[in-house]
């Protein structure tokens, strides 16, 4: 249960920064839900969001259904689950650290956005999904791809721009796609992935209802706090609730959109509240704590699979590095960074596992070593892989290459064996 877990970890920052609030009840149980906010009476004295307010800490939003579950022991996970979660977060962290090294050595180029600090969100959600469930992300997508099952080798090669990458070097850091693992991207424009994710959820529902297939796939859309000011977000919240789509909107609220603080750019910074305005539950969870995220995720995924519709989950999290590797990161306060560094999700999980005797230091060290080797091997593989050949430039523009039209000799251009040799001549 969430409460027993919270006893071992500090909730949402140090005590003195917490504004004194009554715990806020979450959204009402699903069946009576019609978008009204029956329980959200907010005292007016709370509305003081001056620029440097630290985040307030409401109670973790876990639905009543979970609280009623009977648990035989007070632990949230088994040993196997714990090790899987730990390994996934270590993989995310080591991979991103290696990306930073490779970037500064010139092996990676362009825009690289790292996920350090936010691993609990990715691991917490994606490890509950099956292969046929879909994930849609933003440009900060390396770890989402890794959690979903894309191999570290494929992602690293893609970042190096090699032909063995998951997109054959054509997509790059911001565009990780994998049909096999249903990783639907990787989008550079924020907000762009949300309608795409809503469409994937639409397909899942269509398959079930129109094509009569046995499909209960859900889609998880990851995006940030900055995206929540974009029109597309609201349009999709409306439609997902209207059509009762099996989607979970996960807001990775790390408080900063490049250098723009969430509090400076948003009239009402509490994003989870926007869910009920559109007719879906809105949940706020501590995104630095993988077990809490996992509990909320379980509920949201189950809801979606049962056909009850979407959920909006706001995860309070933080990115330890700058927005991208080109960002000098001068605007964030060192005290804020330190506060969240102390809540490192990996350290927290490690502590939980060890204190609850689910694993010992030795086993965890073995995992860390294994991941280190995996990531290094991925780098070697990527280094040794060839760059894409010249002929690849014109491949995959269309699924049907007749889209290139008919050449001067009357035949389709794509049928000419010399077609791919020219570049500017095309």
């Amino acid at each position: 249960m969430a409460t027993s877990f919270s006893a071992t970890l500090p909730l949402h920052g140090s005590q003195e920064n917490r504004l004194l609030l009554p715990p806020i009840r979450l959204a009402p149980p699903p069946s009576s839900f019609l978008g009204s906010t029956r329980s959200l009476t907010i005292p007016s004295s709370r509305r003081l969001y001056h620029a440097h307010a630290s985040r307030r800490s409401p109670v973790v939003g876990v639905q009543e259904v979970v609280k009623e579950k009977k648990v035989t022991n007070s632990l949230l996970i088994t040993k196997e689950e714990g090790l899987v979660l730990y390994e996934d977060m270590i993989l995310g962290r080591s991979f991103e650290d290696m990306c930073a090294q490779m970037y500064y050595r010139g092996k990676m180029f362009g825009f690289v956005h790292l996920y350090n600090g936010q691993e609990a969100v990715s691991t917490g959600f994606i490890k509950l999904l099956t292969q046929s469930d879909s994930v849609v992300s933003t440009y900060r997508d390396h770890v989402h791809a890794l959690s979903k099952g894309v191999s570290a080798r494929a992602v690293m090669s893609e970042l190096f721009g090699k032909v063995t990458g998951c997109c054959r070097g054509q997509g790059g850091s911001m565009h990780m796609f994998s049909k096999e693992h249903n990783m639907l991207g990787g989008f550079a424009f924020i907000g762009e992935g949300i309608p795409v994710a809503t469409g994937a959820a639409f397909t899942s529902k269509y398959k079930r209802e129109v094509l009569k297939q046995d499909c209960d796939d859900v889609t998880v859309a990851f995006f940030g706090d900055g995206t929540c000011n974009n029109g597309q977000f609201y349009e999709c919240l409306n439609m997902a609730a209207l059509y009762k789509l099996p989607i979970i909107f996960v807001v990775e609220n790390n408080l900063w959109a490049i250098g723009m603080s969430h509090l400076r750019s948003t009239s009402d910074p509490e994003i989870w509240k926007k869910g009920p305005a559109f007719g879906m539950p809105g949940v706020h969870v501590d995104g630095m704590d993988v077990l809490k995220v996992r509990e909320v995720a379980k509920e949201a995924v189950t809801r979606a699979r049962r056909g009850e519709g979407p959920t909006l989950v706001e995860c309070e999290t933080y990115r330890f590095r700058g927005h991208s590797l080109a960002d000098p990161d001068e605007l964030r306060d060192a005290a804020e960074k330190a506060k969240y560094a102390a809540r490192d999700p990996i350290t927290a999980l490690k502590k939980y596992l060890v204190e609850n005797k689910l694993a010992n230091e030795g086993e965890l060290k073995t995992i860390e070593k294994k991941i280190d080797e995996l990531v290094e091997e991925a780098v070697e593989f990527a280094d040794a892989s060839p760059q894409p050949g010249r002929s690849q430039l014109l491949e995959n523009v269309f699924a049907d290459p007749k889209g290139f039209g008919i050449g001067p000799d009357g035949r389709y251009r794509c049928e000419d064996p010399k077609f791919t040799e020219g570049t500017a001549q095309v």
């Binding site: 911001m174 424009f189 974009n230 029109g231 723009m260 750019s265 430039l393 523009v397 500017a424």
Partner: protein, 367 residues
């Protein structure tokens, strides 16, 4: 929230023209110019242009993502928040359709916004406002409502940023009547054209280039004056020649100039025209040049079909057909979304060798 920041005293971060002359230059040693000539980066040129226009006219304000506290995503608006305060430099949330719409509405009502897009790729989220609310308004209202707004930001390919960050929008915007579309190359172009854009009573799309921001160019005293302005619709002949005309804009001007030097070694004199203004296109200069040289090579970075080059070729064929001695040649980016891999990206963009080869072919000097 807006009232928190105070304006600091002007001097510290001041960008007035006189302090620029004294302090803002890095004298790059690689170029050999007469002693006393100044150099300026395109970034500083743009910054100084916005600064001067803002101090000259209080109706001018800047709006965009990260333009204030972050000093600009590419540091073009550096120092402006400290100098003019948050009432004139607005950090917006990430909502292009929203803030572009607000900018257009403010222009309807008489203000002069300078709206920054972090890259012009993001302007696609706001393109409805640029075209339908801004470009067409003066016509639809029969002259009652003009829209003195400037949209600026980096356009075209950078280095390794992938398909969604690398498109060139010159052709799309230049096809719309009611818009003016400018594309500077050098620091002087940047200063003069941006000032003209901000002062212009019509909507102007100002296409910069990220890779040019850090490049230094020599700049004349006249260009440093705060009333300096370049005319919209006039191209510049960067290099005179008599054998082949090469027309281009933005970053490709640099490539064309390098190509011209290579061609000069082989005895071919290339005339390089920097278009500066895509709409209105300076057809007179282009045609006069082609009538002189009889050959045309047009270069651009964007997609080939329906591009700027296509318009120039059509114009030359229509107006100077009998003067042409060789088929007109277009060099454009590859007809594919921009790939990420470094070698493929290089293949997808025109290179100096491509321009040289096309020019030689036009002069019948190669296969």
């Amino acid at each position: 929230m807006w009232g928190i920041l105070r304006r600091s005293a002007v001097d510290g971060g001041g960008f007035s023209a006189s302090s620029l002359r004294r302090t803002r230059f890095s004298l790059v040693s690689a170029r050999s110019y007469a002693a006393g000539s100044k150099e300026m980066t395109v970034r500083d040129a743009l910054n100084s242009a916005i600064d001067e226009e803002m101090s000259a006219d209080p109706k001018v304000f800047v709006m965009g993502e990260e333009v204030g506290q972050y000093q600009g995503a590419y540091k073009i608006t550096k120092g402006l928040l400290e100098k003019y305060g948050p009432e004139r430099v607005y950090d917006t949330p990430i909502t292009e359709a929203g803030f572009t719409g607000i900018g257009v509405g403010a222009a309807y009502a008489g203000l002069k916004p300078v709206v920054e897009f972090m890259t012009f790729n993001f302007s696609m989220q706001a393109i409805d406002h640029i075209i339908n609310s801004a470009a067409k308004s003066n016509y639809m209202s029969a002259g009652q409502i003009n829209v003195p707004i400037a949209f600026r930001g980096p356009n075209g390919a950078a280095a390794g940023v992938g398909a969604q960050h690398s498109q060139c929008y010159a052709a799309w915007y230049a096809s719309v009547p009611g818009l003016k579309v400018l594309a500077p190359y050098s620091a002087e172009d940047a200063r003069g054209l941006l000032k003209a854009a901000i002062r212009d009573p019509d909507p102007v799309v100002f296409l910069e280039n990220e890779l040019l921001y850090g490049e230094s160019f020599p700049i004349s005293e006249e260009a440093l004056d705060s009333s300096f302005c370049l005319p919209i619709g006039k191209a510049k002949i960067e290099r005179e020649g008599k054998d082949v005309t090469i027309t281009t804009f933005s970053k490709m001007v640099g490539f064309a100039l390098k190509a011209a030097e290579k061609l000069a070694e082989e005895g071919i004199g290339a005339e390089v025209i920097n278009l500066r203004s895509i709409r209105p296109l300076d057809r007179a200069t282009i045609n006069a040049s082609v009538r002189k040289t009889s050959r045309l090579v047009t270069v651009e970075e964007g997609f080939p079909q329906h591009g700027v080059c296509a318009e120039i070729c059509a114009s030359v064929v229509e107006e100077s057909f009998s003067y042409l001695d060789a088929p007109v040649a277009r060099i454009a980016g590859a007809d594919v979304p921009m790939p990420y891999a470094a070698n493929l990206e290089r293949l997808a963009l025109p290179q100096v060798e491509d321009i040289v080869r096309a020019a030689k072919r036009a002069c019948y000097r190669s296969k």
